[in-house]
């Protein structure tokens, strides 16, 4: 128990976890309706897509690079799968194809990020993929998908929305993948020092590719759930998620320099973002003003994290 506390305290997730606790307490005081079980379930449901996207992105951030194309990837795959299903393809097959597209996009992003800075490479692919989405949709919007597919997004298992179950499973898989496997270790080691990783005989390119594939497959999965949830597909539907996904991972304490952080913090980051939006809705803050608040939250959380960490390190030196 003491060990667990110690490791939480030292982990990069510490401040985001504290932020989350403070936020939950504050929200309960500001808006009494926040505390209801129904609202809690709503929050988790609203957070679920962001959780899937940002957990996947965490793998890429840990290698010390960036994927800005997750929003576009999600939107694109959602559209493709919607088209396939509209053309009477079997739901399971369509879903599988969706995931495969995720693999391909991950391989392309990862290969490019091995040559260019990931930031630039994926900023470019973001536009390309978004453009492809428009081509696939031919400018239109698809709706009325078969229930066999939409149930994935709107259905419940008992009292728990399917989305929440999917998100939990993905987050758990990613947590295990990053913390308890040799691949996860290599991702951390590479992110911490790519040169040392090369000297330690690590297949570094394969490690980076794997991280991008993980990220894009998560994005593809989230995109399909998005379509199922909306019962519609629109080329632009992933756009709002692009930067939120980065924000969730960064608020969660994963270093943009790589090697430090993890899924635990990202969960906190995604929940913080979602709760802030939720509380603004509950208190009636107009959605146009919400960007201002979200931006401020991002800056404040990252500032607290950076400053306290600097102080800690200068103390240890």
């Amino acid at each position: 128990m003491k060990n667990l506390w110690q490791s939480i305290k030292e982990s990069r997730a510490f401040y985001s976890l504290i932020g989350l606790v403070v936020l939950v307490i504050a929200s309960s005081i500001i808006a009494p309706s926040f505390r209801t079980v129904n609202n809690m379930i709503t929050i988790f449901r609203q957070a679920s897509l962001l959780l899937i996207l940002s957990s996947g992105l965490t793998a890429v951030l840990l290698t010390g690079t960036m994927d800005l194309s997750v929003g576009a990837t999600a939107g694109f795959v959602g559209c493709v799968v919607a088209q396939l299903i509209k053309h009477d393809m079997n739901v399971a097959v369509a879903t599988l194809i969706g995931l495969l597209i995720g693999v391909v996009i991950g391989l392309i992003n990862g290969t490019l990020a091995g040559i260019l800075p990931g930031f630039i490479a994926t900023y470019g692919t973001n536009w390309v993929i978004a453009g492809l989405g428009i081509v696939v949709m031919q400018g239109a919007v698809i709706y009325d998908l078969p229930p066999a597919f939409t149930q994935l997004g709107v259905g419940y298992l008992g009292a728990i929305p399917n989305l929440v179950i999917f998100a939990s499973v993905v987050v758990l898989i990613l947590y295990i993948l990053l913390s308890n496997t040799t691949l996860g270790r290599k991702i951390y080691q590479y992110g911490s020092n790519p040169v040392a990783a090369k000297y330690a005989a690590m297949p570094t390119r394969r490690v980076v590719l794997s991280a991008f594939v993980i990220c894009s497959v998560c994005a593809a999965f989230a995109g399909m759930l998005m379509t199922a949830r909306l019962n519609a597909a629109d080329a632009a539907m992933g756009d709002t998620y692009g930067l939120q996904t980065v924000a969730a991972a960064v608020i969660g304490g994963t270093s943009q320099k790589g090697g430090e952080g993890g899924v635990l913090g990202t969960i906190a980051g995604a929940l913080i973002l979602t709760i802030v939006v939720n509380i603004m809705n509950l208190t009636g803050i107009p959605s146009q003003a919400q960007g201002l608040v979200i931006g401020s939250v991002i800056i404040i959380m990252v500032l607290i994290d950076t400053i306290t960490r600097k102080r800690q390190e200068s103390k240890m030196n």
Partner: protein, 505 residues
């Protein structure tokens, strides 16, 4: 020797959980080089940082010219005439020498623009006083050699007209020739009456440069002695606190089977040129040479990390196809690289995580890992190698140089390669840790490992190697065997400098 410039009395500095300095006295006279020695963590850097105003002592008194002073920070120290030349360059790589020298206090024209002409002129004047007028002050310092950069650092320190200069491990990345010219400058500064505090590990340098030596151990001052008043052995004993009968240990055994054979090896950059040599099981083979002789590059070719242009590498009788480090490691070749901070360690990862960095797949072939097992393995090696730490979960960033190097060793020991290349294995680490590394190398050789040792410190190569190949400008220019007449510093040094025959001067 002149009058006393600076005294520090009863200096005590506390860090969380430890006394970095405990009631230490120190003084510096005009025209003196006062050497500070001690193992890593002994408090040398802390003491020099207090004098430089970077740290504030909890207790104690500092006087300058007999007047008690309180140094308020590094800027205050500079204004009082105390400057520093650091071990790791503090220059901005993309700025040129003049911009670096006058960083943050650039001369201005009447209109308030930078007076580039004056900057250039003053910088050139400063470098001239150092006999370094050949350095182009308008080129970015990143394009200068390490030694030239160091000269720019010294010029920068001199631009403050200091009375005291602190040199912190200035020679750790210099070649022998460059060290010579650095020492000339220090002698000149000394002759001008400056007081010099010289922090270093390299005992062979002390007689060349020092006047007095102060030995620190565990934050306490052990003694201050005149340079001629004590032998190296006595110094080491004071530093490590135990008797050191012999620094180098080599229990030679028989060598039989050839482990590694290199034939006509060349790289693409012309840094390695037609290199052939071999190493047998149980043997320690030294590669001696100046910095830039191609030793590290040779190691990198064998380790698969630098592309091979032509030539063959044979490992235990089989031709090796070395496309990357993964190939080399699979064949049982390991490399303890020269630069532990950039190549050897993931500094934001723990001791335990670094320990298994190479052997991860070997320990966990089934994809899933077990952190507790990793910790156990790491604990085993921290005990065996005497890595000083409170926990194997500690990030390697927070370890001393010697302990960091031991973690790099642990990383390779846990993989257990048959052929291990040590590239500058003792650079920048203290005597105690050095001896432990020598012992380990000897033990590994007697267990049948084939070892290649690259080092710029000749006494160490001679002390440890059974055979030495001497390299110069990418080629092997000589081979000497332990026990032969020419197995000595003079002969090997001559070959290193002059190449074959020593005639082409």
């Amino acid at each position: 020797m002149g009058k006393t410039i600076l005294t520090a009395k009863h200096i005590t500095k506390l860090f969380p959980g430890m006394k970095a300095l405990d009631d230490v006295d120190f003084d510096l006279q005009e025209g003196e080089v006062h050497i500070l020695v001690g193992e890593n963590g002994a408090g040398k850097s802390t003491l020099s940082k207090i004098i430089l105003g970077a740290y504030k002592a909890e207790e104690g008194e500092i006087t300058l010219d007999g007047e008690p002073i309180v140094i308020q920070g590094t800027k205050d120290a500079l204004e009082r005439g105390i400057a520093a030349v650091y071990q790791e360059n503090s220059l901005v790589p993309y700025l040129d020498a003049s911009q670096n020298i006058f960083l943050n206090r650039e001369p201005r024209t009447k209109l308030g623009f930078l007076d580039l002409k004056k900057m250039k002129h003053d910088a050139e004047e400063l470098l001239k006083t150092l006999n370094c007028e050949y350095i182009d002050v308008t080129k970015p310092v990143s394009s200068l050699s390490v030694a030239e950069q160091q000269m720019v650092e010294i010029a920068k320190a001199l631009s403050f007209n200091p009375r005291i200069i602190v040199f912190d491990e200035p020679t750790s990345s210099l070649s022998e020739r460059e060290v010579d010219s650095l020492f000339k400058q220090i002698h000149r500064l000394k002759a001008e009456g400056l007081g010099i505090i010289y922090v270093s590990h390299r005992m062979q340098e002390f007689p060349l440069i020092g006047d007095r030596i102060t030995v620190l151990r565990d934050g306490k001052k052990i003694a201050t002695v005149g340079i001629n008043d004590c032998t190296n052995n006595e110094l080491v004993k004071m530093m490590v606190g135990r008797d050191v009968s012999q620094v180098y240990v080599r229990n030679q055994t028989d060598f039989n089977e050839e482990a590694l054979k290199v034939e006509h090896l060349c790289d693409f950059d012309g840094r390695v040129n037609d290199i052939s040599f071999n190493v047998r099981k149980g043997e320690i083979v030294g590669l001696a040479g100046l910095v830039g002789a191609g030793r590290t590059e040779t190691a990198e070719l064998i380790y698969g990390i630098r592309p091979i242009k032509s030539g063959d590498v044979t490992v235990f009788g089989k031709k090796a196809d070395l496309k990357n480090a993964t190939n080399a490691v699979a064949l049982g070749i390991g490399l303890i690289s020269e630069d532990r901070k950039t190549q050897g360690l993931a500094l934001s990862e723990s001791i335990a995580q670094n320990t298994v960095a190479v052997s991860l797949n070997k320990i966990f072939p089934n994809f899933f890992i077990n952190m507790n097992k990793i910790r156990e393995i790491a604990k085993d090696y921290t005990n065996k190698l005497r890595i000083m730490t409170t926990s194997v979960d500690k990030k390697t960033r927070f370890l001393s140089g010697g302990n960091q190097q031991k973690v790099v060793l642990a990383k390779w020991l846990s993989y257990d390669p048959d052929i291990l290349i040590f590239d500058e294995p003792t650079r920048g680490i203290d005597v105690g840790a050095k001896m432990e590394i020598y012992n380990l190398m000897d033990r590994m050789a007697s267990e049948g490992k084939a070892i290649i040792m690259i080092s710029s410190e000749l006494p160490e190569v001679i002390g440890m190697s059974d055979r030495i190949y001497i390299m110069q400008e990418g080629s092997i220019v000589g081979e000497v065997h332990r026990g032969d007449d020419n197995f000595n510093q003079e002969k090997i040094g001559e070959l290193m400098m002059l190449g074959t025959g020593g005639a082409n001067e």
